[in-house]
Symmetry: C2
Subunit: 307 residues, 2 copies
């Protein structure tokens, strides 16, 4: 029997990366956070994404940290680390390492330094990594996040990659923030594992045949978002979606990563959780109060619901 | 006597990085190219810039390659390697290494993954690197290239950095392509070493009190651009500028890095010089012919003029 092309379905979380005051990674806090997310019911951890400040970490830091998670018992079938970088050798090294550890997938940014590059060049970039990694175990999810990477992954490029590497290029995270793009992906590529980059589109994505969402706010509202997925075919699905969306909308009015870390700091009572690496900056006290008040108004407070 | 804040003046070249067919760096060709540029009269080599595809190289490759150049006799007082990366630890490591080798300066991109970040965050990023490197020998040139990095360095940020680190933050490469910005830099920060990112603005930059240019097309037209600098106060300056500008304008109508490498390939009779790392792609034959014809029409052919 052939393995399914994508093993992931449901709500994945791009885990935040906590830092000590000297900006080194706080490993125990990172592990504790990953464990907590899994306890709350998330399907997987897309560690080393934009939300995890992965591009502010060195290749060595990412490799060591992933090994630490696996050595600490985080199941590899729940891990989809980010491995996309500007530089081909780094991209190959991180991807090969994730595959060797047994991670069920990798989430791969396009090389994002040069802008206005051709689909031919982006195809060559992905193809070169796939060929150099050279493993049948590789399951690659494309990471489309034009507001930040400023290097979009077009429908034409996706079609070409699926055709060229049907057993490897198995899905995409669509962080365009544009539902029309997600809808086009669902229509154009049935069977391809489409994840929305925001829980606001979770139900719509699932109803369109998609796989789920990979969402930053899953760091603070994992159970609330998982409830949408679990009840997707029930009568209360739309109401659960509306509740989750209200929470997301509050966060989106603030700098997202500092805001999420601020909430983690409040939840864990650890002020160090607020630390970010530059060029991000910690949320100021005034903004933190405003964020907390607005979350309170929509009835949201971080809590330990399961586990 | 206090050392001058900037040791560089004139025409610097962001040297192209040649690759073997397997995309590994061709070290002998790189060294030969750097030597040739110095023979042609350029003031310095801004290796590992955008033109040098530095962000397509790993940190290790950059470190080994810089050591190779220095070990091979390229004078460190002529070297201004690029050391800016997305990740703070990489940025610190590359900068520390360049300073330890004795390089007269470094050219530093802002961390370029996150977009729409605050000046406060960018200030923190530069300040953190400077403090972690902790060397009085560091001479830092800011690298403003908004068309590619998509993270601009504002006048306000520059003013703050000069004030905070007057002996360290000594100059800037302005690759905005916007003369108004270069003019504002020259007016706002007298004594700061302002380099235009294109030879088209070389004479105007010098006349405004600037230091020179750091220009991609210097890879193929070093002597022609140096002539503008050397004759900047002579009666023929404007005509020499016009000649250099005509050549630049031809290249700017084509993908710049593949076009420059195409010319290097023709000049050295080495087809491997055309290789680029993805996401860039080699110039197609048809475009190469068109480029060559247009260069011929403006009277330009690469030649060994000195040395």
């Amino acid at each position: 029997m052939k393995e399914p092309p994508s093993l992931f379905k449901g709500v994945l979380v791009p885990a935040l990366t906590p830092f000590h005051p000297d900006l080194s990674v706080n490993r125990p806090a990172f592990l504790e956070h990953c464990r907590w997310l899994l306890e709350q019911g998330v399907a997987g951890l897309a560690v080393f994404g934009t939300t995890g400040e992965a591009n502010s970490l060195s290749v060595e830091e990412r490799i060591e940290l992933l090994e630490f998670l696996v050595d600490s018992g985080i199941p590899t079938e729940r891990l989809m680390p980010g491995t996309g970088t500007c530089a081909l050798p780094d991209n190959v090294r991180l991807t090969r390492h994730a595959v060797a550890l047994g991670c069920a997938g990798v989430l791969m940014l396009p090389p994002f330094y040069y802008k206005d590059v051709s689909d031919e060049g982006l195809y060559a970039a992905y193809a070169e990594v796939i060929q150099q990694v050279g493993s049948e175990a590789l399951r690659l999810y494309l990471y489309h996040i034009p507001p930040i990477a400023r290097v979009p992954i077009s429908l034409g490029l996706i079609g070409r990659l699926i055709k060229g590497f049907p057993d490897t290029v198995v899905g995409i995270k669509d962080s365009s923030g544009d539902w029309n793009n997600t809808r086009d992906l669902l229509r154009e590529f049935p069977g391809f594992a489409v994840f929305s980059g925001s829980e606001n589109f979770l139900l719509a994505t699932l109803r369109g045949g998609g796989a789920g969402c990979i969402t930053a706010t899953g760091n603070v509202n994992p159970a609330g978002i998982c409830r949408v997925f679990e009840n997707r075919e029930g009568p209360g699905a739309d109401e659960l979606q509306a509740v989750a969306t209200r929470v997301r909308d509050v966060f989106q009015a603030f700098p997202l990563i500092p805001g999420l870390k601020q909430q983690m700091s409040r939840f864990t009572e650890d002020p160090d959780w607020r630390n970010v690496r530059p060029p991000l900056i910690r949320m100021a006290e005034e903004a933190a109060e405003m964020l907390h008040e607005r979350l309170w108004r929509v009835g949201f407070e971080m809590r330990r619901e399961r586990g």
